[in-house]
């Protein structure tokens, strides 16, 4: 029974975390949000996990520096597709490591021109340490610390070979993340909250030194756990990034804001194989973001765990 309950909870948490996970980073290389902290998550009884996730999204428009929203103009469009290999391994009862290797394809159409390009993206690796497991104490929530990094293994936009930079698959900089995650179950419901801080290291392009601002993110999610170990989750993720520094000078109105809403589900095919999926949207209306694209899309994934 304990194992069943642990699986129950972990599936829901996995569902929620994967909603929050690499949406931005994978789909829009240049707009990588600091959310790839837990690419895949192990249940307490699992020792390792591997899987494949397919993700697709379309750009709805863009937010200006002060929150104004403009739809994609006539004759232009953009879609992104990402296939990611996911893996996780348990080191100790409380510590697990995870990684994501993405392959990205982008189709970008501008008036009078269109192209498709892609390649390997930025690899994400992360670690999660559960100081308190969700079920460990009756009154305490689960408490975990997560750290991660995104490595610039993809191609930065300015190094792209194609004219619309569809073969850009990375941000060109190392990105570091740290987060605290809380989770608590109430009957069939599981509630979680995650706070995250991310920082990208400085990078230099053609003598131009840039450091993006520190990013702070918050995720709230609620999941419903079904008796067959399936789970459904709703989540909202908000992030705010400070202004960038260019050539040691703070560049005003370059900070970014994003709100993403998502619904996700997990369905166990067997004790070792599970399917999961999600749909997500950045609200395409003014003041839900700044200096960002608004996107909508979905993902499906198959995971095998032992």
């Amino acid at each position: 029974m304990r194992r069943c309950r642990s699986t129950f909870v972990s599936l829901a948490l996995l569902c929620a975390m994967l909603v929050f996970a690499p949406t931005e980073a994978k789909a829009q290389a240049c707009c990588a949000a600091a959310s790839a902290v837990t690419p895949a998550r192990l249940s307490l009884h699992e020792r390792w996990l591997a899987g494949l996730e397919l993700r697709a999204q379309g750009v709805l428009g863009a937010y200006g520096a002060e929150g104004g929203f403009v739809s994609v103009p006539d004759g232009a469009s953009e879609q992104g597709f990402t296939a990611s290999l996911l893996a996780a391994a348990r080191v100790t009862r409380r510590l697990q490591l995870a990684g994501v290797v993405p392959w990205q394809e982008t189709r970008r159409v501008a008036p009078e021109r269109g192209e498709v390009g892609g390649g390997f993206g930025d690899v994400n690796v992360g670690a999660r340490y559960d100081f308190v497991h969700e079920h460990e104490y009756r009154r305490w929530p689960g408490v975990a610390v997560l750290v991660g990094t995104s490595l610039p293994t993809g191609r930065a936009p300015e190094r792209a070979k194609k004219s619309l930079a569809t073969d850009a698959t990375g941000i060109g900089a190392v990105q570091m993340h740290a987060a605290v995650a809380l989770e608590k179950r109430f009957g069939h419901w599981l509630v979680g909250a995650t706070g995250l801080v991310a920082q990208r290291l400085p990078r230099t392009v053609d003598g131009l030194s840039t450091t993006l601002g520190t990013q702070v993110s918050a995720l709230a999610n609620v999941s419903y756990l079904f008796p067959n170990l399936a789970a459904a989750a709703l989540s909202a993720a908000w992030s705010r990034e400070g202004d960038a520094t260019i050539d040691q000078v703070l560049a005003p109105n370059t900070g970014r804001t994003a709100l993403q809403l998502a619904a996700a589900g997990v369905y166990p095919l067997s004790s070792r194989v599970r399917l999961q999926g999600s749909v997500f949207v950045t609200p395409p209306a003014a003041f839900f973001g700044a200096n960002q694209n608004a996107v909508a899309g979905g993902s499906v994934a198959a995971l095998v765990a032992f």
Binding site: C30, C31, G58, L60, A62, G64, A65, E66, G67, G68, F69, V70, S71, V72, P73, G75, A76, R108, A110, P111, R113, A156, P157, E158, R159, A160, K161, K162, S163, L164, A165, T166, A168, I171, G172, R200, R203, V205, D206, L208, T210, L212, A244, I246, A251, N253, T254, G255, R256, V281, P283, P284, A285, A286, F287, F288, N291, N293, A296, G297
Partner: protein, 140 residues
């Protein structure tokens, strides 16, 4: 109904309820054509993108008009380089083409990729001293 249409419908109500505009606020917009003074005050530069405002994402030619602000300085025969850059995203776009002189202070950059909506800069160096100037555009 595509994903874009569905999402737009879902959130159109929220935007209406909150009184949000679906277009950028006036303080959001930059003046066009873009103008800048070089870092030592030697040149004034004006940049216009083919097609004019609003600038739509894509690959464009950019015309640069250089006016000397200091006596005895010529606007002709200048070495000019540009780096298209998105400051909010921390990246640029591929551009390794030369800036060609048209004559009488006019220069032209071909095939400048402004592939994403948002604020773009042309980080420009000009003249024998390598003076810097930044020309900003909003792209939609």
């Amino acid at each position: 109904m595509g994903v874009r249409s569905l999402a737009t419908l879902l959130f159109a109500g929220a935007a209406l309820l909150s009184g949000c505009s679906s277009s950028p606020s006036s303080e959001d917009a930059l003046a066009y054509p873009a103008t800048a003074i070089s870092s030592l005050g030697t040149y004034a530069i004006e940049a216009t993108v083919d097609g004019g405002a609003p600038i739509v994402r894509g690959v464009h030619g950019v015309a640069l008009r250089v006016e000397p602000l200091v006596g005895g300085v010529s606007a002709e025969g200048l070495a000019i380089t540009i780096q298209p850059w998105m400051p909010a995203m921390g990246h640029g776009s591929p551009y390794d083409g030369a800036v060609l002189e048209v004559g009488d202070g006019d220069y032209r950059a071909q095939e400048v990729s402004l592939f994403m909506a948002g604020r773009w800069e042309l980080r420009t160096t000009i003249g024998p001293g390598g003076e810097r100037a930044t020309l900003s555009f909003d792209v939609r």
